[in-house]
Amino acid sequence: MELVFQKTTGLTDKPTGYCPGCTHGIIHRLVAEVMEEMGILEDTVGVASVGCSVLAYEYFNCDMTQAAHGRAPAVATGLKRVLKDKFVFTYQGDGDLASIGTAEVVHAAARGENITVIFVNNAIYGMTGGQMAPTSLVGQVTATSPFGRDKTVQGSPIRVSELLATLDGAAYIERVSTHDVPNINKAKRAIRKAFETQKKGLGFSLVELLSSCTTNWGLDPVESLNWIKEQMVPVYPLGVYKDVGGGRK
């Protein structure tokens, strides 16, 4: 028998605490696989943020730094400016990146910081119990929008990939999805491209991954992936929004 697939050395042995079916587990694995395949596990510092993935520092098999809520891109800036030849990535959810951390990610991109941001967008706050996120959809019922997100009261969702693509310092921005295996494979290629962008010193890279939250959406894992496909993709179109290195459209 020949081996087709096994667990990557980019993940530690610690079983994750994520809910059954949570796409965090898939995305962790993709990032870990990319690092292993590029041979950079020992050359990388990851920055964990605050949200469901707060314990990411226990799961990635590389040096890790825990950051305060929203501040991961600033922490990553400090790390990368000192460790110029090493790889630095952040792993952030939609509250961390698009709410409290909006300034940090925008300015890291504007400065063209040579880091990679993994942005897990599941349109809700998981860890704190299902509150509305800046990326929640209009009409979406959450703990803090119990009547459905109302544009006139709570505004409209933020499209982070489009926003950051307007900045000259952003070198590679792509939005992908995790709702089926072909999209998961595309997502991995995007993550690889982001790390390659960092390797070439081209500037700021970000991969936005449309993700699920079965517990707070109140759907089972399979239904959740369907919700991404049917509800989120129309609002957050998949694709490459910036690519100074060329090659992917």
Partner: protein, 353 residues
């Protein structure tokens, strides 16, 4: 050996940091410390370092956190309202046991306050400011020359104990010009930073973290931190005294106010009043010995500060009620002059003549 140079306080703070081995500064412009930042923008590249203007004070302290995690000697500088913004970051530095130096060139508060000097961030610096059980050592220079020595101390204490350290100045210190000498000081050998997340091949995996969800683990972590603070309290106290051996009336003051107080004390002595000065240099750990030595002998203490009464509480704690402790303060950026302070000493001594 370098000759004395006439420099502005903010620039002395910057140059002293460079001499102490600091190679990274992350700051945001704010009056009255902006000259520090402009100086570093030119100076750090000369020594292979980096100044990066952060988008906010919050981003700056988090960049410090990242650079410190990577093992660098790093600093941020700001003034009162900006230091308020940094409090979460400082708590994180303390909890994650990361070294860093935070310079506060104090101004009038609260809120937007004013841009004139103040000393009203004593509580913020010494009693926490950020959440949780932690202390950051606080060093308060009174002269530009003292800044040079204390800056070296600040970075050494930070690295040796793995803690954030404050250098507390005020707008006067930042703006005044005095001759200073940058003598080469032997760098302490504090050992390699084997805890730093440097992504070094062959090293075991490193994690910088302050989260301990299990309460037992978090309590043990807190015990470790408290043991560290106990060690700092035993080893890093700094203070100065002036004419306290036979003093009846002791003025207690820190920073620039202590220099004004010295003039008042000289005037008091000229007028037959035995006045003296205790000048805490480490505000945390607060010096105990000069108070233990005097509290049963003096007739009264007078604490003088540019605030509404902050250090005076620590003075009262040390005096333990054995002697009266008076307070005189100016706020809003108003600077007390030596005549005012002398008048206070005279009034306190009034009933005794």
């Amino acid at each position: 050996m370098m000759a004395k140079v006439l420099m502005k306080g903010n620039e002395v703070i910057a140059e002293a940091a460079v001499h102490a081995g600091c190679r990274y500064l992350f700051s945001y412009p704010i009056t009255p410390q902006s000259e520090l930042v402009a100086y570093m923008a030119k100076r750090l590249p000369e020594v292979g370092g980096l100044f990066l203007q952060a988008e906010s004070e919050i981003a700056a302290i988090n960049m410090v956190y990242g650079a410190s995690s990577a093992g660098a000697r790093v600093m941020t500088s700001s003034s009162s309202p900006g230091i308020s913004l940094k409090q979460e970051g400082i708590s994180y530095l303390a909890g994650s046991e990361l070294p860093a130096v935070i310079v506060n060139v104090m101004r009038g508060g609260p809120g937007l306050g004013g841009i004139q000097p103040g000393q009203a961030d004593y509580f913020q610096a010494t009693k926490g400011g950020g959440h949780g059980d932690y202390h950051a050592p606080v060093l308060a220079p009174a002269t530009l020359q003292e800044i040079v020595d204390l800056m070296q101390d600040a970075f050494d204490i930070a690295d040796r104990y793995r803690t954030p350290v404050y250098l507390l100045g005020d707008g006067m210190l930042g703006q005044m010009m005095e001759p200073v000498e940058f003598k080469e000081r032997a760098q302490m050998d504090l050992g390699p930073k084997d805890w730093a997340t440097t992504a070094t091949r062959g090293d075991e995996r490193k994690v910088t973290n302050s989260l301990f969800l299990d309460p037992q683990e978090l309590e043990e972590h807190n015990h470790r931190l408290q043991a560290k603070y106990k060690s700092i309290m035993e080893n890093e106290v700094r203070y100065d005294t002036y004419l306290t051996d036979d003093a009846d009336y002791i003025v207690v003051a820190f920073g620039t106010v202590s220099r004004i107080a010295r003039n008042a004390i000289k005037k008091a002595r000229d007028n037959g009043l035995k006045a003296g000065l205790i000048r805490p240099v480490s505000l945390w750990p607060f010096p105990e010995k000069p108070f233990i030595d005097t509290r049963d002998k003096v007739k009264a203490y007078l604490t003088v500060e540019m605030n509404a009464g902050q250090m005076v509480e620590d003075v009262r704690l040390q005096v333990e009620g054995r002697s009266p402790v008076y307070f005189y303060g100016r706020t809003g950026g108003m600077i007390p002059n030596s005549d005012e302070i002398y008048a206070q000493i005279f009034a306190i001594a009034g009933g005794d003549e």
